[in-house]
């Protein structure tokens, strides 16, 4: 005869497992190793994400036709200028199908962060991007620690907190 309390104990165990997994996920910030990415910059030099291990990296996937991406562009460049000396890099990966559309946006803009070109969309595929824009903050060991879907200026203080947290960690 089945123990009448067994179904309740099984339920309790399932709930406990779910709660624990949530706690574990929260503590780790859903950290996962960043995929391998190699893309050319404006001069044609191929930059690999792995070459930036040891530095905190923000990888932003953007397009000229995406209004919040356009808003985010100068904000990310400002963060790069602020934290670059402390070991922070920004890779702005453009996914416009036509390079001319990206260049039209970049023309006349003063920016210092690295812009990479990915017309075939390989980076968003390997990063499993779900919405434009999405930015990924990676720690010095190359693990994705934070990601943000969408952008408004009001998010910049949160970005600063996360960047400073990762910069303070040991390599």
């Amino acid at each position: 005869m089945m123990n009448s309390t067994l179904p309740w104990r099984l339920c309790a165990a399932a709930v406990l497992a779910a709660v624990l997994s949530t706690i574990v996920n929260a503590a780790s910030g859903n950290a996962r190793p960043a995929p391998s990415v190699s893309l050319p910059d404006r001069s044609g030099t191929v930059i690999t994400l792995q070459s930036l291990h040891g530095r905190v990296v923000l990888l932003d996937i953007w397009a000229s036709w995406c209004p919040p991406c356009r808003t985010a562009f100068p904000a990310y460049d400002a963060l790069y200028r602020e934290y670059r000396e402390q070991g922070f890099d920004v890779l702005a990966v453009n996914v416009d199908e036509k390079r001319s559309a990206a260049e039209e946006f970049l023309k006349g803009r003063d920016f210092q962060m690295k812009v990479l070109f990915d017309p075939k969309g390989t980076a968003p595929e390997v990063f499993r991007l779900r919405g434009m824009p999405t930015s990924y903050l990676m720690d010095k060991r190359g693990a994705i620690r934070f990601s943000h879907e969408g952008f408004t200026d009001k998010l910049v203080p949160q970005y600063r907190r996360e960047i400073e947290q990762l910069l303070a960690e040991a390599p």
Partner: protein
């Protein structure tokens, strides 16, 4: 359909007033239950959202028709974001009717001036992939006042390839039977639902349905028809149920050309049936200059109680041209320009639109509508 019994103005107003709150509360309750379901089932999570288009727009419309009526209508609208999830939209406009509309000219041979002002506002909140808005509009002119509250909700699914949306609005309209002092009541409500689906990288379609209900005074106090040789102000039913089905398509074609095609099937319980379809092409010369041409055809049957003139004692009779059978053609040309460095005092990202429309119907009515618009971003894009 019920005709308004003679001498029952006050009683009708009382019945309409008691129904008004029932309809409003019921409609809003249903809408918010749906909103709650959307948010709950969608798992409203807080995340950064695209800024609502923060901009200010100015448009000037000039409407000139074959009756000699000229309407000058400036409108202003403003969109602002308070937080990354909350936006505000406000609008204001004026219709200034000058010269003589054919109704006013019968009594005011020297010409009549009338202005209709309207103001509207809405709050938009974003919860993850769900957007909810609540708003209202108030308009006022001599002999007519309208107050509207509305709400809408939309949710994107399937990585933004599918959008479901719906909305509800309730209006309390008060026409005055000029030159009498009598003010009538009319309650109008409508609800709509749409489904938008991306079919490919180049094609998107939308299906929609709108249901409308109007209760109360719906006659036109300014137009008279012949009943047994005597000119009489028309009498319309006091209930009307309206349906509109729409199907729309947008197709990106080679050479930066875009096709738009819309169809609307309308019918109501006054037997006004109409098919309206439009087709247009746009060409993007470069990212800053786009030209468009659109043709629209509207064909409608007249109301069941429409006749050119009446004999005997008809229950309903009308001189309202909107209930006549007729066809119409509308031709639209539009040019949109976004200068690279802004324009004069306007900042970078400012866009200009110029549009001309020519409307001609088989009721021998023609109109030309010219629109000039400017939209300025509140932040540098």
């Amino acid at each position: 359909m019920k005709a308004r019994p003679a001498g029952s103005d006050c009683r009708a107003a009382g019945v309409v007033a008691s129904n008004r709150w029932t309809i409003l509360v019921g409609g809003l309750a249903v809408t918010w239950i749906v909103v709650g379901l959307f948010v709950f089932l969608g798992g409203a999570r807080s995340k950064a959202q695209e800024p609502q288009a923060e901009s200010v727009g100015l448009q000037f419309h000039t409407f000139v028709d074959s009756r000699g009526v000229t309407v000058l209508s400036p409108t202003v609208d403003l969109g602002m974001d308070f937080t990354n999830r909350t936006g505000l939209r406000v609008g204001f406009g004026v219709d200034a009717i000058t010269a003589a509309s054919d109704s006013c000219a019968r009594c005011h041979a020297e010409g009549a001036r009338n202005a209709r002002e309207f103001v509207n506002a809405s709050i938009i909140k974003t919860y993850g992939d769900t957007k909810v808005s609540v708003g209202g509009e108030f308009s006022h002119e001599d002999f007519y006042q309208a107050s509207t509250v509305s709400t809408s909700i939309s949710r994107t699914l399937n990585q933004a390839n599918t959008t479901v949306a719906g909305g509800y609005s309730f209006s309390w309209n008060r026409p005055q039977l000029h030159p009498d002092e009598i003010v009538e009541n009319q309650l109008a409500q409508s609800a709509y639902a749409t489904l938008t689906q991306t079919l490919s990288k180049y094609t998107v379609m939308q299906l929609g349905y709108e249901l409308g209900s109007i209760l109360g005074y719906q006659s036109n106090p300014y137009l008279r028809t012949s009943v047994d040789g005597v000119k009489m102000v028309g009498v319309h039913p006091e209930e009307r149920m309206r349906h509109a089905f729409t199907a729309r398509l947008r197709q990106a074609m080679p050479g930066d050309v875009y096709l738009e095609a819309d169809f609307r099937r309308y019918f109501d319980d006054w037997d006004v049936n109409a098919n309206t379809w439009s087709v247009g092409l746009s060409h993007e010369f470069n990212p800053r200059v786009t030209a468009s041409g659109i043709y629209r055809r509207h064909a409608q049957q007249g109301a069941s109680f429409y006749q050119p003139s009446y004999t005997g004692s008809p229950q309903f009779y009308t001189a309202d041209f909107r209930l006549f059978p007729f066809d119409s053609n509308l031709y639209t040309g539009r040019l949109a320009i976004t200068p690279q460095r802004g324009l004069l005092i306007f900042p970078t990202g400012t866009s200009l639109t110029a549009q001309y429309e020519f409307y001609k119907s088989t009721t021998n009515f023609e109109a030309g509508i010219f629109t000039l618009g400017v939209r300025m971003p509140l932040k540098h894009p």
